[in-house]
C-alpha cells in the first residue's frame, strides 16, 4: 500500500488508440488518403508484444466491457488517477506506428499519435503527461519529431522499445539522444520488440512466457550497448528510464558487466568507470513489474545490492496486470527508498515535471 498523504508520480501508464481510424483527423490530407487507400485505417496495428487477450495485458477488473483496453480517459481517471491520488501520470502509447518498415509512414503516424494524445488526454487533465512517440527505425525523423514536440512541456520523455533493429547504443540512434538531451527529455525504453529479430538470440520462441521473460535479458543487452558504445560519454546529461523491465535482475547484471569490463575495457577505452557506476548515474527503472522475491528481507537485500535508492520510479503499468487492488508497492522496501521512489526520484529524472 502507498503511504497515506503521498501523491505519487506514476511513471508508466498505458494509453492506447481505440483503433487506427482514430488517427485520421490528426493526419495531413496526403497521409489520411494514403491510410484509407491502403486500408491501414482498418488494421489494429497492435504490437505483438502486448496482445489484447493475454492476461498480463490487462488486469481483469480494469478490462473494459467495450472498447479497446486503456483507450478511455474516464477509465484511466477512475482506475488510476483517483484511487492512487496521482500527482502526475506519464502516458506511454505502444502502437505499430512506431516500428513500421516505411520510415515516412511511421513518422506521419507517430506525429498523429502525439497530436491525438495531446488533444484527447493531456488537454483533459492537468495530471497527465506523455512520452513522445517516434519512428524507431528512422533516427533522423525521430529526432525531428522530438524537436517538433519539445515546445509542449507536457511531453516529458522520448519513448523507444528495448528490442528494435539495432542495439540502442549504436551511433545510428544518436540523433535521437542529442535531441532528447538538448530538451531535457529522458529516453524511456519500454519492454517490447519490433520483431526484426527473435526476442531471444536463441531463435523464435513458441509461447508467450518465453517472449515476456526474455524482455529482461533484452534490457541487459540495452544497458551493455548504451555503456559500451559510449552514449553517456557523448551525452553526459542523458537519463534513460527502463520501463516494464523488471528490477531484480539488475544486481546480477552489475556484477557480470563490472567483472567483464576489467578484462576487456581496453576495447572501449572511453568507459573509464565501472559500468555499474555509469548505470547507477544515468539509468532509472519503473517498478512494475518488480519481479519480487518471496520475502521482504530478500527485497531489502536486492535494494542493498542495487546500491542506490535513486534508481527506482513508481509505476502502476496500468492496465497491465501485476498487482491487485492498490497494492502497487513491493513489500520490504525501506522507508527512505519508498519515499524517494514515489516522488523525488521522478522529479530528479524528469526535469519537465518541476
Amino acid at each position: 500500500m502507498l503511504p497515506l498523504g503521498v501523491r505519487p508520480i506514476d511513471c508508466d501508464v498505458h494509453v492506447s488508440l481505440p483503433d487506427t481510424r482514430t488517427l485520421l483527423p490528426y493526419l495531413d490530407e496526403y497521409w489520411r488518403e494514403h491510410l484509407i487507400r491502403r486500408g491501414i485505417d482498418r488494421d489494429s496495428l497492435e504490437l505483438t508484444s502486448y496482445p489484447s487477450n493475454a492476461p498480463l495485458t490487462c488486469r481483469p477488473d480494469w478490462r473494459p466491457s467495450q472498447g479497446h483496453l486503456g483507450s478511455q480517459f474516464e477509465q484511466l481517471r477512475d482506475h488510476v488517477l483517483e484511487p492512487f491520488q496521482t500527482q502526475f501520470a506519464i502516458c506511454n502509447v505502444l502502437h505499430g506506428s512506431q516500428i513500421m518498415f516505411s520510415e515516412d509512414l511511421s513518422a506521419a503516424m507517430c506525429r498523429a499519435i502525439n497530436d491525438w494524445i495531446a488533444a484527447e488526454f493531456l488537454d483533459r487533465d492537468t495530471r497527465l503527461r506523455a512520452s513522445i512517440v517516434v519512428p524507431l527505425h528512422s533516427p533522423e525523423l525521430a529526432a525531428a519529431e522530438v524537436e517538433r514536440r519539445a515546445t509542449d512541456r507536457r511531453f516529458v520523455q522520448v519513448l523507444m522499445l528495448a528490442m528494435t533493429e539495432m542495439p540502442l547504443g549504436k551511433r545510428q540512434h544518436w540523433p535521437i539522444y542529442a535531441a532528447a538531451e538538448r530538451h531535457d527529455l529522458p529516453i524511456g525504453i519500454h519492454a517490447g520488440s519490433s520483431f526484426r529479430h527473435p526476442p531471444s538470440s536463441l531463435g523464435w520462441p513458441s509461447y508467450y512466457i518465453e517472449d515476456y521473460v526474455s524482455q529482461a535479458p533484452g534490457f541487459s543487452g540495452v544497458l551493455n550497448s548504451l555503456v559500451a558504445e559510449g552514449v553517456f560519454n557523448r551525452f553526459p546529461r542523458l537519463k534513460v528510464v527502463l520501463i516494464e523491465s523488471g528490477v531484480t535482475w539488475l544486481p546480477a547484471h552489475f556484477w557480470r558487466i563490472d567483472k567483464t569490463w576489467r578484462a576487456v575495457r581496453y576495447e572501449t577505452p572511453w568507459v573509464k568507470r565501472r559500468p555499474s557506476e555509469i548505470i547507477r548515474e544515468h539509468v532509472r527503472l519503473t517498478v512494475q513489474p518488480f519481479d519480487a522475491p518471496p520475502t521482504a528481507a530478500q527485497v531489502q537485500m536486492i535494494i542493498d545490492e542495487i546500491g542506490s535508492d535513486e534508481m527506482l520510479l513508481f509505476s502502476t503499468d496500468y492496465p497491465h496486470w501485476h498487482f491487485e487492488g492498490a497494492d502497487a508497492i513491493p513489500n520490504g522496501l525501506p522507508d527512505e527508498c519508498l519515499s524517494k521512489m514515489l516522488v523525488s526520484n521522478a522529479l530528479a529524472t524528469y526535469p519537465r515535471l518541476s
Binding site: 551511433r171 576489467r262 578484462a263
Partner: protein
C-alpha cells in the same frame, strides 16, 4: 631490506622478462627500452603468475570512437583474467587504489661497483666489465 643482483643487463632484451626467486619470492624483472622494473609474480586478484602475462600498452580515449596508445609496453596483462597492471607502480587499471601488485626498486650497477659488495649475488657470478640489474627486496 637487502639488495640482490638478479641479472646481467644484456640477458634481458627490451620487452622481455626474467623471473627470479629472491628470499623465497618469485619476482619478474622486466625491461622496457633501457629501464628495468620488478614486480611480484603473483596477481593480487587470484594468485596467477602475473609476470607471465603479456606486456601491452596503455589504451586511452577522449571519447567514443577515439583511441590512443599511451605508455607503450608498460602495462602487464594478467594471463588469467586480463586485468591490466601498471608496470611502474603495480597499480591495477580498474582499481588502482585497492588492487596493486607489489613492486621492488631496481637499479643498474656496473660490475666494478658490485665487486666491492655488500650485495647478495647468490646465483649470479659478477664480472667487472658487465652491468647488472640489482633489486631491493
Amino acid at each position: 631490506m637487502s639488495r640482490h643482483v638478479v641479472a646481467r643487463v644484456d640477458e634481458i632484451t627490451p620487452g622481455a622478462c626474467k623471473i627470479v626467486t629472491v628470499k623465497g619470492r618469485e619476482i619478474g624483472i622486466f625491461r622496457v627500452n633501457d629501464e628495468f622494473f620488478a614486480l611480484v609474480n603473483r596477481c593480487p586478484h587470484q594468485g596467477a603468475q602475473l609476470c607471465k602475462g603479456a606486456l601491452v600498452s596503455g589504451v586511452d580515449s577522449p571519447g567514443p570512437g577515439e583511441y590512443s596508445l599511451t605508455r607503450p609496453g608498460e602495462m602487464l596483462r594478467c594471463p588469467w583474467h586480463c586485468w591490466e597492471f601498471d608496470i611502474r607502480t603495480g597499480q591495477s587499471w580498474c582499481d588502482p587504489d585497492s588492487v596493486r601488485a607489489r613492486t621492488y626498486a631496481v637499479e643498474v650497477e656496473p660490475g666494478a661497483t658490485l665487486a666491492k659488495g655488500p650485495y647478495k649475488a647468490e646465483t649470479l657470478p659478477v664480472s667487472v666489465d658487465q652491468d647488472y640489474v640489482v633489486i631491493t627486496v
